[in-house]
């Protein structure tokens, strides 16, 4: 069975809960943490490879905890012509994939840091961020 890649987004209220432990212990999942950005009292993101029979149960547990769960089968791209480098995305992007280089104040996108949370799609005023399947 091939592993399932998922993206988790969670608020500061659950950043200190042992959710990975629960996935292993209660749902018998084999977990590979591909990326993680977890800090106490801050919103966090995680990309996981999950293998096991109870993936659905584990994902339901996460959703009950208030974690947003999405399948990672997509990547985000930036339409360079459309982007005005305003910077509105840079304080929203949870992983720093969209960032500002100072003092030039130019906006860059590092796809390697992106966890496809898709927040930037809603936030970009000129809709320069797109999902590629």
């Amino acid at each position: 069975m091939s592993p399932k890649k998922i993206v988790l987004r969670f608020g500061p209220d659950i950043s200190e809960e042992p959710i990975i432990y629960r996935l292993v212990k209660d749902y018998d999942l084999l977990i590979n943490i591909v990326k993680a950005n977890v800090n106490p009292q801050k919103e966090g993101t995680m990309v996981l490879d999950l293998t096991g029979d109870q993936i659905e149960g584990g994902m339901n547990y996460l959703r009950e905890k208030g974690v947003q769960v999405q399948a990672l089968s997509q990547e985000i791209v930036r339409d360079e012509d459309r982007c005005t480098m305003c910077g509105a995305c840079t304080a929203i992007c949870p992983t720093g994939a969209l960032f500002m280089e100072r003092p030039a104040m130019e906006v860059y996108f590092d796809g390697d840091k992106c966890v496809v949370c898709q927040l930037c799609l809603k936030i970009c005023p000129v809709r320069a961020m797109e999902v590629r399947l």
């Binding site: 304080a91 929203i92 000129v126």
Partner: protein, 395 residues
């Protein structure tokens, strides 16, 4: 008095004018001192590229055969105001299609509105014009649906009643839920801070007492040439001196006008604010003639000298409660972090600084090359000394 408009224009025509963008001028003043820099430089150029509500265009579609007196008009499904004349309409930046889901599925996306129609027009893309009427003896036709482009119609005049805010709030959120505003998405408990001026490049921050910018000032507008038509709506310039700092609220604004047909989609862009609505990003650049050392002093103000008020958009702004949490300098805002109520907050702009710099550079090039002469205003705009202030709407 260092120089007059006519002396500056004579120098521009002979290719002798010394023109600098505001950021270059700031560096020169730091290096050589104000007096020497003011003597050397004739014109300082400014720039801003940001979402600017209170924008739109007057369109004259031309007459069909047979004629129609358009009573209601839609452009790509977005209503335009047609109560002007038979085939004249005004398409406003924040107008939305009647079938837009708005905020019914909160936060709404507002993917297409009047600002996007303006961008489609300026991009020379076909736009569907639909109009209905009741029919008259001289205008018998009752409906029309056709594709237009900006090249097909008689006039497309951008007329923005309020643009180029002198200064603007730095928006934060003190509540415990995410809010969606025209200042972007604001995360709970001071999760982020958004601001929207180009700071030391911002046109009206460089002429805070309106000593040069007035009715008839020729400007860079949306990539073409435009003019200051009037003071903008909600033009309330005011400066408060505090601890040796000049602090201003949102301040002055401009009403600007120009031929949309000359403009470029690079500088006229439809924007969508999730949970709020649609608008238009407009590029504006204004030349400041250094007529006197005092004008040069204001033009030399740097990000360290300019301050934005920090305002809570969860309660104080919607409730129209006066005052602000604190003031922060644009140098601090641009550093990426500010401290409010003891908490360090990540900052981000909605106004693109690289684009503002590009506009100031384009304007500099146009003036240096002799293709853009300065105009002396027919009348200056109200200044902070005039004490204009906003009225509260009762109800």
């Amino acid at each position: 008095m260092l120089r007059s408009y006519s002396e500056i224009n004579a120098k521009i025509k002979s290719g002798q004018a010394v023109v600098m963008s505001a950021d270059e001028f700031i560096s020169m003043v730091e290096e050589k001192g104000l007096s020497a820099a003011a003597k050397t430089v004739d014109v300082v150029t400014t720039g801003t590229f940001a979402p600017m509500c209170s924008s739109g265009a007057f369109l004259n579609f031309g007459h069909s055969s047979p004629r129609i007196r358009m009573q209601k008009v839609w452009l790509n499904g977005v209503p335009a105001y047609a109560g002007i004349a038979a085939v004249d309409a005004y398409i406003g930046a924040t107008e939305l299609p009647e079938d837009d889901p708005l905020n019914s599925n909160y936060p709404g996306e507002f993917r297409y509105g009047g600002g996007h129609v303006l961008e489609d027009l300026v991009s020379h893309r076909p736009v569907t014009l639909k109009a209905i009427s009741y029919g008259t003896d001289c205008y018998p036709r009752k409906s029309i649906e056709t594709a237009i482009t900006i090249d097909d119609i008689n006039e497309a005049t951008l007329f923005n009643p309020r643009n180029a805010y002198q200064n603007y709030n730095c928006a934060v959120n003190l509540s415990n839920r995410t809010i969606y505003t025209y200042m972007g998405m604001l995360k709970p408990n001071l999760g982020n801070a958004h601001y929207s001026t180009s700071g030391q490049l911002s046109p009206l921050l460089k002429d805070p007492h309106f000593k040069t910018i007035g009715i008839g000032t020729r400007i860079f507008l949306g990539g073409g040439t435009g003019y200051v038509a009037w003071h903008g709506t909600q033009h309330f310039p005011s400066i408060q001196e505090s601890d040796g700092k000049s602090l201003g609220p949102a301040g002055g604004t401009l009403a600007v006008i120009g031929d949309l047909k000359q403009m470029s989609p690079r500088w006229i862009k439809g924007v969508s604010f999730t949970g709020y609505g649609a608008s238009l990003a407009v590029g504006i650049g204004i030349p400041i003639p250094l007529l006197s050392e005092e004008i040069a002093l204001y033009a030399a103000a740097s990000d360290r000298d300019l301050y934005a008020p920090v305002v809570d958009y969860s309660d104080a702004y919607p409730g129209r409660k006066p005052g602000c949490l604190t003031h922060v300098s644009y140098a601090d805002l641009k550093s990426g972090k500010i401290t409010v109520q003891g908490k360090e907050i990540t900052t981000a702009p909605l106004s693109g600084y690289p684009k503002a710099r590009e506009i100031a550079a384009i304007l500099k090039e146009r003036i240096s090359s002799g293709s853009f002469l300065l105009t002396e205003p027919v009348q200056l705009l109200p200044s902070p000394a005039d004490g204009r202030a906003g009225n509260v709407l009762k109800g």
